[in-house]
Structure formats: structure tokens, C-alpha cells
């Protein structure tokens, strides 16, 4: 009980604490943002999009020319206040779904997004069913055993 109260206070403090942090204006920074949250969003987006030219790398982790161009473009879009979905739309219109490291949630990808969950639940059900079967078998066997012993005792009275 005490523990739960502690935990609630802790969580609340985290929700209340973070305010809009201001970034110092600085010409040195390559992708300057006044709004700290936007900067965090920008950095995250760079990890969510794939470099089209590299074998297997996000925009964040690539030095390829196209990656730099795309970074700059995404920077402009975030600075202009565009939503994530708009930026995704912009990129997929040009490079296709390939550029998304987080595959879109649509009928052709349901199996990917929901599959593991369904797999887990189904296998758990299977296991529970199997256990119940086994226990029933075990109980049946015990009953058989008991019957046999009673019969044996009766015959040998």
C-alpha cells in the first residue's frame, strides 16, 4: 500500500515536472530548434526513417549525401510545424514504404503487427488446454488405479 503511494507520487512528479524547455539560439548548431520538444522529435524521426542508399542504416546514422539532404528536408518540415504523419507522407510519396523503419499499420502488415501477440495468446491457450487434458488424464488414471485396488482388496478379503 505504502509502495503504491510512493509510486503514484513518483509518476505524478514526472508528468508535472517537464515544462517547455527553451533552447539557446546558437548559430553553431547544424539543426537549431528553439523548441526542445521539437528537437527531440526531430532526433527521433531521424531514427525512424531509413537511408535509401545505404545497405541498412537510419538517416541518423548515415553520412550518405541523400541522407544529409533528407535530414535537411525533415528539419525544414519539423521547423515549419508539420506533423509526423505529414512528414511520413512526404517521404513515402517519393521513396515508398521502404523508407519507413516502422512499417505502416495496414491490412498487408497486420500479420506483422498483431501476429506475435496472437501467437503468444494462442500458444498460452494451447498450453493451458494441454495441461488441463493432462491433469484430467492423470485424474482418470488415479481413478482407475483406485478402482483396481478396491477390486483387488474385495477379492482378497
Amino acid at each position: 500500500m505504502k509502495a503504491l503511494i510512493f509510486l503514484t507520487i513518483l509518476l505524478l512528479s514526472q508528468v508535472i515536472a517537464p515544462l517547455e524547455v527553451e533552447n539557446p539560439e546558437d548559430e553553431k548548431v547544424l539543426y537549431p530548434f528553439e523548441n526542445y520538444d521539437r528537437e527531440v522529435r526531430f532526433n527521433r524521426l531521424l531514427e525512424d526513417y531509413r537511408c535509401p542508399k545505404c545497405q541498412s542504416s537510419s538517416l541518423s546514422g548515415s553520412n550518405a549525401p541523400i541522407a544529409k539532404d533528407l535530414k535537411l528536408e525533415i528539419y525544414r518540415l519539423v521547423k515549419a510545424g508539420k506533423e509526423d504523419s505529414e512528414i511520413t507522407e512526404f517521404l513515402t510519396q517519393r521513396y515508398g514504404d521502404f523508407i519507413l523503419y516502422k512499417p505502416p499499420f495496414q491490412s498487408s502488415t497486420y500479420v506483422l503487427w498483431i501476429g506475435p501477440f496472437v501467437f503468444l495468446v494462442l500458444s498460452m491457450l494451447l498450453v493451458l488446454m494441454f495441461k488441463r487434458n493432462q491433469q484430467k488424464e492423470g485424474a482418470d488414471r488415479n481413478l482407475e488405479e483406485l478402482k483396481k485396488r478396491l477390486e483387488f482388496d474385495r477379492l482378497n478379503k
Binding site: 542508399k53 541523400i66 539532404d69 533528407l70 528536408e73 517519393r94 521513396y95 515508398g96 494441454f130 487434458n133
Partner: protein, 172 residues
């Protein structure tokens, strides 16, 4: 029930192997273009040959045509250059150039030296038109059919084989 559990892994495994086998037959190393079956995008850029002339989408109008993305810093482009010249000679198809993130003077010098297969080249210094086309490197070549629709995109040097296999079929 028990028998099922014993056979199931084997069955699943068989499907897995068949799937893996099919993967081996795959032959595609390129990013497929999503501009296929779409119109050429809008743009507003200067002509390489004359920086006072502004080109727009309307200037790419002589269909069927190919649009070739090239640059002086691109080594593979040098390799495909002779084929582009040959293509211009023989098939009479319109070849437009997209000079990608290049230096105007160097580009002009190269065309002077090696020959110019292009009707004209769009000077895309920032790569904005290229980005709208989903370009991610050079060289790349887009095929536009007689209706003005993009029908194919090839990444890498344009060769006779690629021309025959990938592009010609859209030119009926």
C-alpha cells in the same frame, strides 16, 4: 492431439524451407520507384545551359522520353554516357538531363568535352527535383511513355541490356 504436436514442427519447417528457397530466386537489388504510373513532378529550376531560362514541368513535354540523372562527380555516369549518345542517334527518343547537385561550369565543360545527348539539362543544384523523384544516387534513368506517364526507373548505368529488358516494353 499428441500426434498433431509431433507432426506440426515438421510441417511448419517444410513451409519455412520452401519460403527460404523462394527468397534465393529473388533478383532485385534496387529500391522500386513509387513514381511509376504517375506524372512527372512539378518543378521550377534553371536550365543548365542558360541560367536565365527557367524550366518547369511543362518543358518536359516531348514524349516518349527518358530523364537521366547525372553529375560530373559520378563515375558510373561516365560509363553510361556513350550509350546515351548512341541512344540519341539511333532511337530518336528524347533524352532530358537532370544535372544533380553539381557545379554548373564543370557540367557544361563535361558536355562540351564528351558530347551532349540531352535536349537540355535541368540544373538541380540542391537536388530538390531529384528528391521529388525519389532519386537516391546517380546515375538513375526514368522512362516516360507517350502519354507522359513515368513507367520505369533504373538505378545504375543504363546499358543495352537494361534498355531492352526494362524500358523498351513501355514504348509501344
Amino acid at each position: 492431439m499428441k500426434k498433431f504436436i509431433h507432426i506440426a514442427p515438421l510441417v511448419i519447417f517444410t513451409f519455412l524451407v520452401l519460403a527460404l528457397f523462394s527468397f534465393l530466386k529473388r533478383d532485385n537489388n534496387q529500391l522500386n520507384s513509387v513514381l511509376i504510373d504517375k506524372n512527372f513532378p512539378e518543378f521550377n529550376l534553371t536550365k543548365l545551359e542558360n541560367k536565365n531560362v527557367v524550366l518547369t514541368k511543362g518543358d518536359i513535354s516531348n514524349f516518349p522520353a527518358i530523364v537521366n540523372v547525372w553529375a560530373t562527380w559520378c563515375i558510373t555516369c561516365r560509363i553510361e554516357h556513350p550509350f546515351l549518345l548512341e541512344l540519341k542517334q539511333e532511337s530518336k527518343i528524347n533524352i532530358y538531363g537532370l544535372n544533380y547537385k553539381d557545379n554548373r561550369q564543370k557540367a557544361l565543360d563535361l558536355l562540351e568535352r564528351d558530347g551532349n545527348p540531352f535536349e537540355f539539362s535541368v540544373y538541380d543544384e540542391e537536388g530538390s527535383l531529384a528528391m521529388d523523384l525519389g532519386v537516391y544516387g546517380a546515375p538513375e534513368t526514368f522512362l516516360i511513355n507517350s502519354d507522359g506517364i513515368i513507367k520505369a526507373r533504373h538505378v545504375g548505368a543504363l546499358t543495352p541490356e537494361v534498355w531492352d529488358k526494362k524500358f523498351v516494353i513501355h514504348l509501344r
